[in-house]
Every structure is written in structure tokens, then in C-alpha cells.
Symmetry: C2
């Protein structure tokens, strides 16, 4: 038996997220279908994350076990020949049998992109959150620093996820403005359900002067979801990288 | 009667170009349908260009005549409320009755984007030409200068367009490399049928060392389409701006 690690890019626009669910199409389901066609086996991929509907990934990691004699590094090209245009395998390789893409993850980087133009975008509309109102980037930068470090992020978590602890460590939160785009890049040891999107929603409230940068600390300590900002839409979010 | 000028952005992926044709869906047709619903008239938009299937636009210009009492600057929001997500009106305004978006155009800027990665892209795949092979950017830059100025571009024109002359002036051709992207931006007083895509196809041949930068002059002088490079795919092309 071999353990194969995949690095996967996908455009999440037309999928109900990564994980298999009834009555909807997910990325996991589409890749497993191709794998089963190729191997004749009944393969289940272990995924590094559960991305939501409409969320994208440039470096999703998954692994699966197979008895197939296909060389592990060949799965990339064979799968790419079968997968639809919005999913692509960037790499496939054999890893130790003990490797588990979910539990061995030491951290992840996500990006979130806001487009600030007077009219909604047509080109690239599925990859950004279009936000018309003017944002004070200085305030956003100031507030963003409050998230760095180890905190209880209970206030920045949607109900529904089940985790033992709501304590997470954010090691980096960068914000770049390029033309009409504001790109947030956030790295942490792990993220609670909707945590990135609620952090961005809170930073937007800061940029609108509805929340003061000084209040981020209070919101974290409150552990109260109602104190934080809204969960922003999924299209702007992209899982960039998973660390092992 | 009023003459209304529109600036239009569209994602051309799902359209057979701008201009109305039988049995296919075009951008012109979709906007005219909305205009007719709004005004109760039978409106025909004069377009600045005939973009091909799959080509995008960030600054397409069109104009139409109407007897409607709707203020000209209101057409933007009314149309945007009706148009599909891949078409958006960036501006609408009244212009002189003599204004013709096609014949009054003094020049246009197009961009063309190449993505150079080992695997095909999933995210943003409709907006780039994915090209795996390594390109010598120094040679491309050298060759690009040969296009600047007034030349007979007959060798860089697909058959089918009908124009009085094949002489055009290119005032600018910039090439930027950003991460894995190569972005060409080309400005001229007008472009022949497929001219931008054949120029880019020729520059790619230069980057592959199949055509020498010195040979561009010879190809121009030959007026022979077979001497130039191939016409690259439409998805990488975007009409950025039309000048009046």
C-alpha cells in the first residue's frame, strides 16, 4: 500500500466546498470519482481543510492510500487529464504511510481579496469581494496587529465547527494595496470555522470607523461572536498553502 | 433625441464576442435586449470594436440614440440592475449627436496576459493564456520595439476583416513580468483583425528563439501572414481603453 500526497488548486465558484455532502457537488467528490476510475479502487481522500462553498485554493493538500501500481508522481498528469478545468493537481508524490494531511498540518496561509471600485466587477468577479465604501487602511493596519499572537478566537468563529479549543496562534497578517485591490494574507497554526472571513469582516468595520483598533483586544477577550464583525463572502478567500 | 455613450466591462468567456450574430449569444445582444426592455424602443448600439469570442473588455465604448426621458447618466444603474454578472456598465453619459464610438475612435489599448506555470491554472483560467515553455524575455523586449511606429501590418492580420488600408501606428508596447505572469500592453491608432493576437504569437516565437528579433522588420515588409507567428487564444486578450 502507498500513501500519495496531492497538492491541489481549484476554483471553488461552482462547488459546495471541499468535503463530500449529499445532493451537492464538491471538489473531493470530483477528484475521488476520477481516482476511482483510474485505480478501480474505492478511494477516500483525507483533506487538509474543509473549505466552504465558493472558497478557492491554490495549495490545498490531500492524501490517499492506494494499492495501485501507478507510480505516485504519475497521478498528477493522469488526474489532470480527467479533471474539469476548475480543478488541477499541482503535484503528486509518495509520502510515508504515517502522513495525514489533516492532522499533520502545522499551519496554513489564506489570502482574502477586496476590490474597491464604484461599479461591481465583471472580470474576475468570482475571486474578490466587491466593497464600494471607502476604507481607512491606516486604521485597518493598526487593528490587524492586534490579531498577531496566541489568542482565544471564540468571538471569531461561526457556530457549527467542532474543535477542542478555540485558542489559535496567528503568526502573520499582511495587507497589501495594489491598484483597486486590498489583499490580506494571514498565516496561523490553524483556523476555526469562518475565522478568516470574520477577522476580515471585523477589519472592514474598523476601516469604516465602526470599530476602533483598540477594541480588537476587548472583542477577543469577550469570546462573544456578536462583538466581532460580519462573516464576509467566500469568493475573496483562497487557501494559499498548508505547512507540514 | 439623445446620444448616450456607454463604457462597458465584460467577461467574454461565455459570449461569441461583441457583435450580434445568428444562433449565438453576444454582448451587444444582451445589452440591447436590456435597453429595449427599459425604453420600449428598438435600440442598436454602435460599438467601438468587434471583439472576438472569449475576449474581455474593461473599457469597451458604445453609443446609442434614444427618445427616452430617462436621464442619460441613469442608464448605468438601471442597466446594471438588469444585466448578467459578466457584463457591467461603468459609465453612461449624454454626448453630442455627432459622436460615433466606432468612427471617432483615435486609438485603443489592449492587454494580453500569459501565465507561465508548469501546470494549467484553475483560478483565473479564463483570463490568461497558459504557456508552459520557457520564454526569453530579453529577446521579446528587443523584438517588441520593432513594432513601434507606423507600419503596414498586412502580415499580422487574419483574413476576414475588411479595411481600406493595413497601415497602422503602434505608439506603445510595454511588457511587464509579475510573478508567473507576463503582461503585454499595446496601444495603437487601430488594430486589424486578430492583429494583437498575431503580434503576441510572433513575440512568443521570438521568446522560443524560433524567430530572431531582427526578423520582425522582414516579416512586416513581407506583408505575408505565413511569415508571422500564430494567433494566440482569445482568453488572454482584454480591450482596456478606447481613446477619442
Amino acid at each position: 500500500m502507498k500513501n500519495v500526497k496531492l497538492i491541489i488548486e481549484y476554483d471553488g465558484t461552482n462547488y459546495s466546498g471541499w468535503q463530500i455532502q449529499k445532493n451537492v457537488i464538491t471538489v473531493e467528490q470530483v477528484i475521488e470519482k476520477s481516482l476511482n476510475d483510474i485505480t478501480g479502487e474505492n478511494i477516500k481522500i483525507i483533506g487538509s481543510s474543509r473549505t466552504d462553498a465558493g472558497v478557492h485554493a491554490k495549495g490545498f493538500v490531500g492524501n490517499f492510500f492506494t494499492e495501485s501500481k501507478i507510480p505516485c508522481d504519475r497521478f498528477r498528469n493522469i488526474l489532470n487529464g480527467k479533471l474539469p478545468k476548475d480543478i488541477v493537481i499541482l503535484n503528486s508524490e509518495e509520502v510515508q504511510l504515517s502522513f495525514n494531511s489533516r492532522f499533520d498540518s502545522r499551519g496554513k496561509t489564506y489570502s482574502y481579496t477586496i476590490l474597491s471600485t464604484p461599479q461591481r466587477p465583471a472580470i474576475g468577479r468570482n475571486y474578490v469581494y466587491h466593497f464600494r465604501k471607502n476604507l481607512d487602511l491606516g486604521l485597518i493596519l493598526e487593528a490587524s496587529k492586534e490579531f498577531i499572537g496566541t489568542h482565544d478566537f471564540a468571538a471569531f468563529k461561526s457556530s457549527g465547527g467542532n474543535t477542542k479549543t478555540t485558542v489559535r496562534t496567528i503568526s502573520n497578517l499582511e495587507i497589501i494595496k495594489r491598484d483597486d485591490y486590498i489583499i490580506f494574507t494571514i498565516t496561523g497554526d490553524g483556523f476555526l470555522y469562518n475565522m478568516v472571513r470574520i477577522i476580515i469582516g471585523t477589519l472592514i468595520e474598523v476601516g469604516l470607523e465602526k470599530i476602533s483598533p483598540k477594541n480588537i483586544k476587548t472583542i477577543l477577550l469577550s469570546r462573544n461572536r456578536n462583538m466581532a464583525g460580519p462573516c464576509v463572502p467566500p469568493g475573496g478567500l483562497c487557501l494559499e498553502k498548508v505547512y507540514y
